[in-house]
Symmetry: C2
Subunit: 589 residues, 2 copies
């Protein structure tokens, strides 16, 4: 009885981190959390509307996605500072995924977006329950950086139509630019003025407002909050202007009627066809969202020496997305900018997220009537200023200097994302980085080694002056042996043996071989047979313990036409004939 | 002028191996080749018909696929013994690919098969010209073995309908068995008798005929040829029987009218829709065909110390498939059984293949009228006996003993191929073996090491009695660092550091690190920053030359909150405090 109770409590504590931090929650922490929540709420109102617009959805869905999902994450998430909600890249990916299925803004489009959130939530939950969080590690950092940069460029470009006040569309740079160009004659001057003014103002708010206020003697903390309220200011001023001068009549696109009230209860579609069409996108969105979210959460946790549990984060984000799917939202994840703001504002626990949800709920109840006069150009300006901080082409330069292989992966990811769209871009980036890794390890470094005179050390004949013997070929392979490089090793050895008619012994020096898979074992057996038929022995030296254990299981050593030596020195000494010293330059194979 | 000529001759010799062996071709070699060709022709006539039947194509297409493609391979191929033509697994894959597009035997089905050969030829050619043959190395041996075994089982099962004389269909085991069961009431007794008798006879020919003949004093060479002619005997006897007793009238399915004459010139379809539907299958067929072919060619070449050039083999097989596509054939590759027969019969050069083509052409001209009475049950028996030699479940046992990871890959490949069909099976096998490899290298072996008393060696604290120091954590990572394991290493180090409050120095021992990619570099930078904030230094030891070169390019060492040491011993000596000897058992982390 007690045992069952303990087991249940253990499970509950594992899957419900709120039981952990909730026990010690006190007034002090609550005060910090409420302060942080107020600041994040102010920041999140325009962002939620803007990202919904970016996703091609009605603005209220952005607000809905910022209420229940935050509560769900507060219960299941492990990060104490992560602020969950709609973010730019995931909104763009949502538009790309749902845009394949229905026309932007149609009821089918909205249902598909809700279903996408639900599916993505289920997928994240499943990954978390089965502890498959490590799969996210298969994305290389430069590929993600390149993808985010390219997405930022696409997002900023896609918002130009709102700044110019023209109708234009497209999922990738080329389509967007062509469409913009075709519609240039429709530019609305007032919209353009609002767009440019808002963008300029927001850039100034970001860079110049705080120093400006500090210089005028405003306290740093208040200056900080005012700087963060900049976008709300832009929204308030332009909305007021649009109302006062009835700009909607003059062709300025406004947000229009936003339903007042709490999020509705929605049911995602359970159509198998729709699920089949969305599942690939849901997987991509989940993984990209998870990777971004966890990296933000880990960075912030490290500053306070706290820990993130990635598999539980999957459950937290999964719960948040399922919550989005049943409350009229669309896919959400942890956002970088807002999490940093939350952290800086002093959020102590995930409760800050729940308080933010309350703030957003109040806004949805009270402010929505005011939003109908909000110009879309203002929201576009908010998005452009926010995403340009994601754009960072320096990754190209850094990878170029450090590793051409990484450079190719990141350059291809950026190019393909820009030209063919986000889904193809990120899939190709992941595939390419895996292929490049396999390719690199498929041609391992194989060095012919010789004895450093007067020592027991063996070094590459091309780099050092060493002693070798005509009848002995000593090879060192600097890579684990597996299917992708097994055949390559075979070919290299056959080549070298064919060129050395006086050869009697081959010694494979194995200190860098951490594993030998079945394919490589078969290759070693083939090498052994081939060398046997040539009258050459095949020996191994410095084999690691775990590798040796495995070779013994299949009696490879029993068939070995040679011996296994503890060290390369002993191998050469036992097999050795006359040793001749050779200079490094003379030993080119 | 002369230079251009030399360059052209060089290119010609590279891409046309016939120029190489052709120069020294003489009567002796020609005699050997002709003898081999006669034997292979006898073997190939029933096989060509049978495999076309397996692919759901008219029998003559099997013959056509054995004429021009062989000539093309003789010109472009590098293997001196490889016999190209229709083979069992590729025929099954063709049926699976084309069966998705059109009804078996319809004109669209035939066009699709021809186009598939053409596409597959183009793909192989492209791989060869761009020297991408190494891609075939990404298939693990056990996965291929499992796939071939499962294919053999499917093929044998699919032929049971011909033995039973019922109509049944299906692309995978389940469908085939269900369909067979549903049609059991239609069994044709005479067909069944022919089928069982032929199968039994062919098994006996394969195992018992040669010893039987030898015992009766027949010369070994003649006994050998007679054993190989067994299938032709079965074909002749059953055809004659069907003709004499007019078995077609009694419900025995016969091959029927086979057009007499040389292969027609055909034009593959250039419909973009069809190409889009077939390209995936063409890639799978090409790669599986290439892998099988090259492994046969290499095995045989090794016996005579000859060499295969894999990238030129791609061109040879590409040319053969394009030839199939323009002469009414379907995808071909190098077959195992017939190549061994060709080799054993003494084939000296690829000319043997060209002579085989002549033999088949003569057969197509002269024998086709006789074939119309050939019972399909006889061909099914030929296929069953041939493919059962491909079935080898011992790979399951061998991988189980050697490596559970390989076992999972091979078991999944067999199961999925049997249940869901060949294309999904082989794709999943390849994907799974890559995932397993990434997974294994994503959790590298990280050992805490200590000094072996009285030496400069450092060993795993869990395996040896060594000396450690409370203020120093010495770690050895037995894997190159890259995106899939970078985060894991970070987490492991943070964990270990968090448990050791007295820690002042971390030393990462790098002798097994052959490469560090950009993602891993960023992780090392993150570790460095994190340790710095904890007041712990981060040091490296025994870094390999190429890895060091790269780290210097980005000034990682400039930011390093610690040093790089030539050896672990020096590192500990320089950073060291009081050393304490610990026994292996006491050092569990």
């Amino acid at each position: 009885m007690t045992q069952t109770r303990t087991a249940i409590m253990g499970l509950a504590r594992r899957y419900l981190p709120i039981l952990d931090w909730g026990r010690t929650y006190n007034r002090e922490a609550a005060t910090s959390d409420v302060v942080a929540a107020v600041i994040v709420t102010i920041m999140l109102i325009p962002q939620s509307l803007a990202y919904a617009l970016l996703a091609g959805l009605p603005p209220e869905m952005g607000l809905y996605a910022s209420i229940l999902p935050l509560v769900a994450y507060a219960i299941f998430g492990t990060s104490r500072a992560l602020a969950v909600g709609p973010v730019a890249v995931v909104s763009l990916m949502t538009a790309a995924a749902v845009g394949k299925i229905a026309a932007s803004g149609s009821p089918e489009y909205i249902t598909a977006a809700i279903t996408l959130a639900f599916l993505s939530g289920l997928f994240l939950l499943a990954l978390g329950v089965f502890r498959l969080g490590f799969l996210a590690n298969f994305l290389s950092h430069p590929v993600i950086a390149g993808f985010i940069t390219a997405s930022g460029v696409i997002i900023a470009t896609s918002q130009l139509k709102h700044i110019l006040g023209v109708g234009a569309s497209g999922q990738n740079m080329l389509e967007i630019l062509v469409s913009l160009f075709e519609h240039l004659n429709q530019i609305n001057a007032i919209t353009l003025a609002i767009g440019i003014a808002s963008t300029a103002f927001l850039f100034w708010v970001r860079k110049g407002l705080k120093p400006f206020l500090l210089k005028r003697g405003i306290k740093p903390k208040i200056a900080d909050i005012l700087a963060k309220a900049g976008p709300v200011g832009a929204v308030a001023v332009t909305t007021l202007g649009a109302f006062a001068f009835d700009l909607g009549e003059q062709g300025v696109k406004l947000v229009g009627a936003v339903p007042q009230g709490l999020p509705p209860l929605t049911v995602p579609s359970f159509s198998p066809d729709l699920w089949a069409e969305l599942i690939g996108s849901a997987v991509l969105i989940s993984i990209i969202g998870f990777v971004e979210s966890v990296s933000v959460a880990q960075t912030l946790a490290a500053k306070k020496r706290q820990r993130i549990v990635p598999d539980q984060e999957l459950i937290g984000l999964g719960a948040a997305n399922i919550a989005a799917g049943i409350s009229g939202g669309y896919p959400v994840t942890g956002g970088f900018a807002r999490s940093v703001v939350n952290f800086d504002a002093g959020a102590e626990t995930p409760a800050a997220g729940a308080f933010t949800a309350v703030g957003l709920a109040v806004a949805t109840l009270a402010l929505t009537p005011l939003l109908s006069y909000l110009p879309q150009a203002t929201l576009a300006a908010t998005i452009i200023v926010a995403v340009l901080s994601l754009v960072d082409f320096s990754i190209l330069k850094r990878t170029w200097i450090y590793s051409k292989a990484d450079f190719i992966a990141v350059a291809a990811t950026i190019l393909v994302t820009l030209v063919l769209g986000v889904e193809i871009g990120v899939s190709m980036g992941v595939g390419l980085s895996i292929l490049i890794h396999l390719y690199k390890s498929s041609k391992p470094h194989v060095a012919i080694v010789g004895q450093v005179p007067g020592t027991e050390h063996f070094r590459n004949v091309l780099r050092h002056t060493v002693i070798t013997d005509k009848t002995i070929l000593s090879l060192r392979v600097d890579e684990s042996l597996y299917f992708a490089n097994a055949r390559y090793l075979e070919d290299r050895i056959y080549d070298m043996v064919a060129k050395r008619p006086e050869l009697k012994h081959v010694i494979l020096m194995c200190p860098a071989i951490n594993a030998i898979d079945m394919s490589a074992l078969e290759s070693l057996e083939a090498i052994n047979e081939r060398l046997k038929s040539y009258g050459v022995t095949f020996n191994l030296s410095e084999v690691k313990g775990p590798v040796m254990d495995r070779l013994q299981r299949v009696d490879f050593l029993g068939h070995l036409n040679g011996k296994v030596f503890l060290s390369q020195y002993r191998a050469v000494a036992e097999l050795g004939g006359t040793l001749t010293e050779v200079a490094a330059s003379a030993a080119a194979q």
